[in-house]
Symmetry: C2
Subunit: 386 residues, 2 copies
């Protein structure tokens, strides 16, 4: 390469799971059977009512740009959805439609993070979060968390790590990779704590809906001053459509609108029209069936992995991941994941994708594949590990 790339390029890591995935595809191309438990994407196709709504939009010729903040009807539908599910209705003007949760994260970080600003987040956590902060020349401060604090930052940790240049706290509930769900009281404490410190609270709620012991509270239940990231990808089964949203506190819509106009113009139009069918009773029934199926998978996989000797201290209440200690089998989870793939034909994600704290002792299992596949996967692991 004759030209040097920007410093941020070297600072942003690729997903290690991509290497696993590429190698898995390679093995499959040679005729090997691989059980995929590495991918953070539901195996289900988008619900038919949503697909049908997308096709109707195409038939109507709705192929032009929408406003940068999204279709008014969709912003209103999301506001109503909050009202129905959480009993709190943010004004539709506070809701901005984005190209996936990625677009929402980019906008939020661009809005709040100056060069040198610090953002407190968890290790382990979703890797893109810290990379978005780096992209904006800020510094993500990933604080080690364990099952003892439900894999979340405590107010004490936030206070201890707060500095004059700290701009925000970024949390996720349900969390990736741990599946941990935050309770109402916890969210209230953190909202009060960040407000007291004069920082912003950003909560990634993209796994909302995929919870297995009641509805998880939204941070909107405890604060109208937080920034919420959400998505049609996971619960609504629309990954490939690239559609998400954010809820901003009152007064921030104009700034976000301006950034959105410049950064991506608008979210995909057909996806927005399709998503209007995400809130119908017909779709809700399909999504509830799928949620039950995810729970069934978790309830099979969790004890099965524990039986094999993986260490999973608490029962994750959300998302579709199990973050499993593999210290009994290895002292380097990256090598372990590669070995498992080669020798057992099971693809999993090494802990290094989610941070550095005890990352070499952990792997992530995603139950985004059928019960049949999970059973086969567990059998293969049993054969290889025993």
């Amino acid at each position: 390469m004759p030209l040097s790339t920007a410093l941020r390029v070297a600072a942003i890591q690729p997903f290690y799971v991509m290497e696993i995935l590429a190698r898995a595809r390679d093995l499959e191309a040679r005729g090997r059977s691989i059980i995929h438990m590495e991918i953070g994407e539901p195996d289900f196709v988008t619900p038919q009512p949503i697909i049908d709504a997308g096709k109707r939009a195409m038939d109507r010729g709705d192929t032009h740009y929408t406003p940068a903040t999204g279709l008014t009807a969709l912003r209103e539908a999301i506001a109503d959805f909050y009202d129905g599910r959480y009993g709190v209705r943010p004004a539709p003007e506070r809701i901005i439609i984005t190209p996936g949760a990625s677009g929402a994260l980019l906008l939020t970080v661009a809005l709040l993070v100056n060069p040198g600003s610090r953002v407190l987040t968890t290790d382990p956590g979703y890797p893109c979060n810290r990379h978005f902060v780096r992209l904006m020349e800020g510094e993500a401060v990933s604080l080690p968390v364990t099952a003892e604090t439900n894999f979340q930052l405590t107010p004490g940790m936030i206070e201890d790590n707060w500095t004059p240049t700290t701009a925000a706290v970024l949390l996720a509930s349900p969390a990736n990779p741990t599946g941990a769900v935050s309770k109402h009281e916890y969210l209230a404490d953190i909202a009060a704590c960040t407000q007291r410190l004069g920082g912003a609270l950003i909560v990634d709620e993209i796994y909302h809906g995929l919870t297995y012991s009641g509805t998880a509270p939204s941070v909107l239940n405890v604060s109208d001053g937080a920034f919420v990231i959400n998505s049609f990808s996971k619960y609504f089964g629309m990954t490939g459509w690239r559609l998400g949203w954010m809820v901003v506190p009152e007064g921030y819509t104009a700034g976000v609108d301006k950034l959105a106009q410049n950064i991506f113009l608008a979210a995909p139009t057909i996806a927005q029209h399709a998503a209007l069918a995400a809130f119908t009773a017909e779709t809700a029934a399909i999504l509830e069936q799928r949620r039950m199926e995810f729970m069934r998978r978790r309830d099979f996989l969790l004890p099965a992995l524990r039986d094999l000797g993986f260490h999973i201290p608490a029962t994750p209440q959300g998302a579709f991941y199990l973050y499993a200690g593999c210290e009994r089998f290895c002292d380097d989870s990256q090598t372990f994941a590669a070995d498992i793939l080669e020798n057992a034909g099971v693809a999993i994600t090494p802990g290094l994708d989610f941070g550095t704290y005890r990352a070499r002792e952990h792997v992530r299992f995603a139950y985004t594949t059928s019960m049949e596949n999970l059973e086969e996967g567990v059998m293969r692991l049993k054969r290889y590990l025993s």
Copy 2:
């Protein structure tokens, strides 16, 4: 707002045309008829073969993520398209599918621009270009250009403004708002000049295909070291689908892949499958008809505006814009555009959206509406201005 936003938010301007558009919609809601010549979006719906391919992808259940760099089949189809149209075939590995040209610009700037890096570009020019540079904490240096240099930077201007922190030159051909198309020799000179200076050359080619005196050369015709931004939005009529691509020099794909994984995961899946139908003979025939219609519109509007007293020194050979001097009518094109909207019912874009150099003496007319509407618009302007 209790929290302060990042400094970049104040530094990035909204599009002034959005105010015009909002006011136009407002007037329309009150029953006024408005002729829209402000919008940089073709009035045509996406060609039917592309829509049909999108619907087939939905029927197949192709609703999951694609790789971050895009569908292999689409990258190959684009490589073949370059071969057929320009006689040069970049390796498919050098082609990365993006969420619109916006995604391609974001990736390119994230890849090349460090905080404080300078990027040389034109004034007037597409405003998002300089805003992407600002977003990455770089400095866009917009150099005044006129019809005398075909609204482009000359090698002399680039050399005169080069400093040790200058990272890149960012050009567009055909250009927005001027419609200027760069010739083969010019592109070769600029490619040689930036290479000599050790900088990157980024060329926005999103209006390629919409040219009215032969195919415009791609910068790939003169250099395999340039970064090309392109899109399915304008020529292929897929604005709302949010799909674009970039061509990078050999050796940069891994860096771009890593950034794309983190910034947007992947471009919309259904749009990618739909776009595979963009290169068929059936679609090509539709696009050629539309190109001819755009040319017919230009050939009507250009002399009509000159007759009214607008100053348009050269005949634009591409895109669908006329950048018109309005110094005969006003000394503030923003007020002029607002007046025209209120009193003549014609919406146009003030020059300030494209920079500051002589911006108050210029407005942009987009011929993205029917001949009938253009004729009506000219009649209204004639009545109001005479």
